[in-house]
């Protein structure tokens, strides 16, 4: 990171963003390696953002053939069947993304995400997964954690006009500007498995309802062996039963997970492009922050619902006394400006 200067070409191209995050961050970006798996509209938005920002490399993983549904929020692939039936989704996106910024290496990794081992994830600085099963999500997150260096893990899913983003930066140290000085901050992130294991009754009463709704649907898909997003309005009665069970087990009132919200999430099988842009934009910003080690990251969930219009951060982690004290101490150090 030291001493190497950006080329004249880089300085000219990245001028406006260097004015936002500085040269050092730009250098770190240009040496970073990102993996994305599951090329949903939201992930495609994210890819556009970080390729433009100038990461070192981007690896795409998604062997699915292209369907009209997958294309509904995808601006990388022309809707011409004679073109898109030839190649899997990742290859087509790769062809198009390469064009966005000649300074970024974009490539495709074939294979099933769940089959990759720790050494594979070790090559990356950040891993973003979308529309993968609960099990895969947990296991990829764990592999990132077992890696010899810190691999940031993100999962993102959009349903109807709602989006959920999860962030695991493990033990994360970063700097932020406070008045005119840079201060160091440290945060401990739980894994996805740890976060969702936190009993619901111990969570704040006004937590985003979207969090619970997404857990119910995720659990349903797991129990039924469905692929992510492979649900429909016909599943509503069964899902409402599951909601009842889960709420009872967690001593949470069912009113915290309104029927109307679940209905919306089930009915909307296609993504809503404005929400893809918003959540993909926030995700891009988060990955850039994590790579540059600058600025407060989202800890550890972000929710957006277009019907309400709020983009909310929720911190969902087990709070034994010690951990809580540590976190609050750090938060005050970081967030309060006197």
């Amino acid at each position: 990171m030291n001493g190497e200067e950006l080329t004249e070409q880089e300085t000219a191209l990245y001028d406006r963003q260097i004015r936002v995050w500085g040269v050092d961050a730009q250098r770190r970006l240009s040496k970073s390696h990102i993996l994305v798996s599951g090329l949903t509209g939201t992930v495609v938005e994210f890819c556009k953002n970080i390729v433009l920002a100038g990461v070192g490399s981007l690896t795409l993983n998604d062997d699915r053939p292209v369907t009209t549904e997958l294309l509904s929020a995808n601006f990388l692939i022309p809707p011409d069947e004679s073109v898109y039936r030839e190649k899997p989704l990742a290859d087509l996106c790769c062809d198009s993304l390469k064009d966005f910024n000649p300074m970024v290496r974009v490539s495709v990794q074939k294979g099933d995400l769940s089959s990759f081992d720790v050494q594979f994830f070790d090559k990356f600085d950040a891993v973003v997964v979308s529309s993968c099963s609960l099990n895969t999500k947990k296991s990829v997150n764990e592999k990132c954690r077992k890696s010899s260096k810190r691999v940031a893990f993100y999962s993102v899913d959009c349903r109807d006009s709602c989006g959920e983003l999860f962030v695991d930066l493990q033990d994360y140290t970063y700097s932020k500007k406070k008045i005119d000085e840079m201060t160091e901050c440290r945060l401990q992130f739980p894994s996805f498995e740890e976060a969702i294991a936190v009993p619901w009754r111990s969570l704040p009463g006004r937590l985003s309802k979207l969090y619970y709704a997404m857990r119910v649907i995720e659990r349903f898909e797991e129990l039924e062996g469905r692929k992510p997003g492979q649900t429909s309005a016909a599943d509503l009665p069964n899902i409402l039963n599951l909601r009842k069970e889960l709420c009872e087990a967690h001593s949470l009132s069912e009113s915290q997970i309104p029927d109307a919200l679940i209905e919306r999430l089930l009915a909307g099988t296609r993504e809503f492009p404005p929400v893809c842009a918003i959540v993909g934009g926030i995700l891009g910003q988060e990955v850039i922050k994590a790579i540059s080690g600058k600025g407060d990251p989202i800890k550890n969930f972000f929710f957006f619902d277009a019907m309400v219009g709020k983009g909310v951060i929720e911190d969902i982690a087990k709070r034994d006394n010690e951990a809580e004290q540590f976190q609050i101490g750090c938060l005050e150090g970081c967030l309060e400006v006197d």
Binding site: E5, T11, A12, L13, D15, R16, I18, R19, V20, W21, G22, V23, D24, K48, L52, A53, S72, N74, F75, I77, P78, P79, D99, P102, D160, K176, K177, I179, D180, G205, R206, S208, L210, T269, P273, P274, C276, A277, I278, G280, G281, I282, Q285, I288, K294, G295, I298, F302, D305, A306, V308, K310, G311, V312, I313, L331, L335, E336, V337, D338
Partner: protein, 648 residues
Amino acid sequence: MATEQQLSAIKGSKVLMVGAGGIGCELLKTLALSEFQDIHIIDMDTIEVSNLNRQFLFRQSHVGQSKAKVARDAVLKFRPNISITPYHANVKDPDFNVDFFKRFSVVLNGLDNLDARRHVNRLCLAAGVPLVESGTTGFLGQVTVHVKGRTECYECQPKPAPKTYPVCTITSTPSKFVHCIVWAKDLLFAKLFGDKNQENDLNVRSSDASGSSEPAEDVFEHKKDEDVEEYGRRIYDHVFGHNIEVALSNEDTWKKRNKPRPIYIKDVALAEVIQQNGNLDKVPVSTDPLSVSAMTTIGLKNPQDVWSLAENSRVFLEALKLFFLKRGKEIGNLSFDKDDQLAVEIVTAAANIRASSFGIPLHSLFEAKGIAGNIVHAVATTNAVIAGLIVIEAIKVLQDDVKNYRMTYCLEHPSRKMLLMPVEPFEPNKSCYVCSETPLTLEINTSRSKLRDFVEKIVKAKLGMSQPMIMHGHALLYEVGDGLEEDMATTYAANLEKVLAQLPSPVTGGTVIMVEDLQQELTCTINIKHREEFDGEKEPDGMILSGLTEALVQKNDEASKENGASTSNVSQTVSVEAEEDDELQILPAVSGLAGKKRKLPDNANSSNSDLSGVIDETKIPRKAIDREDSEAVVVLDGNGERKKKRGQ
């Protein structure tokens, strides 16, 4: 996914986008994916290299082409069956009149300047078309909805104006680097290379020199036989040495200030400077005058480095020499352009030498260019988020879903856990001179100010009118337009040069005049109040317009600097309108929300909330919570709780 009702509203709509830049590219893409079928897009700009990091519809090979047209072609590749109509034109062109605007269901702004925003606001009001307005800078952004009679218009709230500085701060007592930049750009650069007939305050006036005669010759004149290098050294000594000595002679000025140090070329590693003689031969021959560079000649490579005084002096002399040797023809007609490398170099060097004199920290060329060129920070992600929010609001507008309209702020530091904060729009401001046509009052010296002063300083600069017509009762005093009779044009031209009280229909204290812009269909009533004297320093226009939601000058540099650049190495010193990008300087409006301002002491807070313009930040959380129903995603005030505990 959009609902059936949403889709039918989307498919039946015809939308006008103004701006195909950073927000515009993202917006056009998201509109197309969201199944909008009929999109018109206006942008007068062509594509530049520095756009490519975020305006993702453009490639290197498109540099120089129309943004609107290239954006259309790029989007049609993935949505070939929709209709996109591009206009490579200025939205202020008369073709885009009220009738043109009436053809659209909604207008979506992704603009880069206040002037065009005000113009579009007025046309939307006149045409009765809803407007969704937006802006971003760095990680901050906002989307607002303006529907006539339902919500406030874009001009109901004051907007932050470009910062101005008192003349004496620039000419004699700079205390910040930006003062040195303004001096180098607006005074020195203009004096050396600009129009010689322009007034210029470069030479400080010695307070007791008013009686003595002006020097017979202009020191800035390059004499025919004078060696260019000798000329450069003479200029150097004059502006950085002699002028500082003159300033020092005004002892009163320095009683409470640190005295500046005169700098002469002989004091600054002259040997090094002389070594550079003859290096010009090594400069690669370039056909593009904008690529001539003194830095390159001297061997300075990194624009991020802060040069020493000696290096700045070398750049200054070298750049001056190159202007005369390589670009002699342009001298006398140049004005500063941030894309002109040599101009940026000489302004950076001069500002740094002056900063050395005054004990102000020096800055790199990269930073100096940002300040001198009013370059707005911009990243793709914020533009993408803002474009998504625009489409969400546009769909509500198409469905006439008034109760759900929101202004949304994209924050850098979460406030009440929110990164995206929706707020209910405000009602129209009943005293807004634009949407409520409330009369204004003008204090002016009617026996000294000419009609021209009134047209330039009030009608154009303050009221933002481009095709004004000025009336006193039934008498027409002034009018512009293509269809004017020759004799009328002559009369108006003559009127411009008359003082107000001597116009054919005299304008004096108590007179009511009407100013109308035919394109904007906006009429302003102005009550004239005669006033004899104005303070030249505080009221440089010599006239005061009140009753207008006036553009406010930023008072608290430090606060905005801190808010605006908190994850940045680059401090933003000036709050100014963007010149080329698609981003509005919304920073003061949002900075208050960004979590820091509310912790400032009360006085700092109030001076800053003056600029927030769009919104009073103290109202936001309350409003946001008031309208929350129990089904909504509820936000817990975590910060507030912690604050209370600390307070106990």
